[in-house]
Symmetry: C2
Subunit: 133 residues, 2 copies
């Protein structure tokens, strides 16, 4: 398939696909006239790339680890990077979940203007002087 079809099938822009190629994370065949041609597997490839981007990996990092995904084995440097990114992702998950819980508390409070309804407001460690006015 050509770039337009890949773009619509993977739900990205053609600009993004050319950018991926420029970054060395997506390869393409070329027709004699120079147009890019991709195999069907490219769709899933692009989705994987998108997922890695969404996980906070940079183009450079993705370029380093994609060969490992394919071959199943990694040089020392790549393995180090893999572990580092894995750790970063785990930490990010924790941060996100904690932020999510904080938002949950605010949402719950906002949904219940009832002054008698206090989910875990009392667990707040600071501020005793709330209702002085």
């Amino acid at each position: 398939m050509r770039i337009g079809e890949l773009a619509s099938r993977a739900n990205v822009s053609t600009r993004a696909l050319r950018y991926y190629e420029q970054q060395g994370i997506l390869v393409s065949e070329r027709t004699p006239s120079g147009q890019r041609v991709y195999p069907d597997s490219a769709v899933e490839r692009v989705r994987l790339i998108q997922q890695f981007y969404a996980a906070g990996l940079s183009s450079r990092t993705i370029a380093m680890i994609l060969p490992c995904v394919d071959t199943g084995h990694a040089q020392a440097e790549a393995l180090e990077r893999l572990r580092a990114e894995r750790a970063r992702i785990a930490a990010a998950v924790g941060e996100l979940q904690e932020a999510g819980r904080k938002l949950d508390r605010v949402i719950e409070l906002a949904e219940h203007p009832d002054p008698a309804y206090c989910p875990s407001l009392r667990e707040q460690p600071a501020e005793r002087q709330t209702a002085s006015v």
Copy 2:
């Protein structure tokens, strides 16, 4: 405390603190000469802001929801935004975890060059022609 101490206690730059103030998400008293003065509670405030940034919220969004965090109640628009961000965070957690699992697989494969060791390689839906060479 002044801006430098807050910066070191909250582990951010003074530039960031001034930027937060400019975005309306961090307030400060001023000395007669114009220097910023913060209460101790500002440290935790800044950490909360940082956590929201880390969770992918923009300055604008943080500015919208911080009052809700303080007052415990939200206008319709703010509540909508709270729920939207909460949903986005939940989705992001899922994406991150899936990316993490994919990295785990690659790491596990790379750590065991043993050809007999195949953790869940066989569960891959595609590619049967692996060991032809």
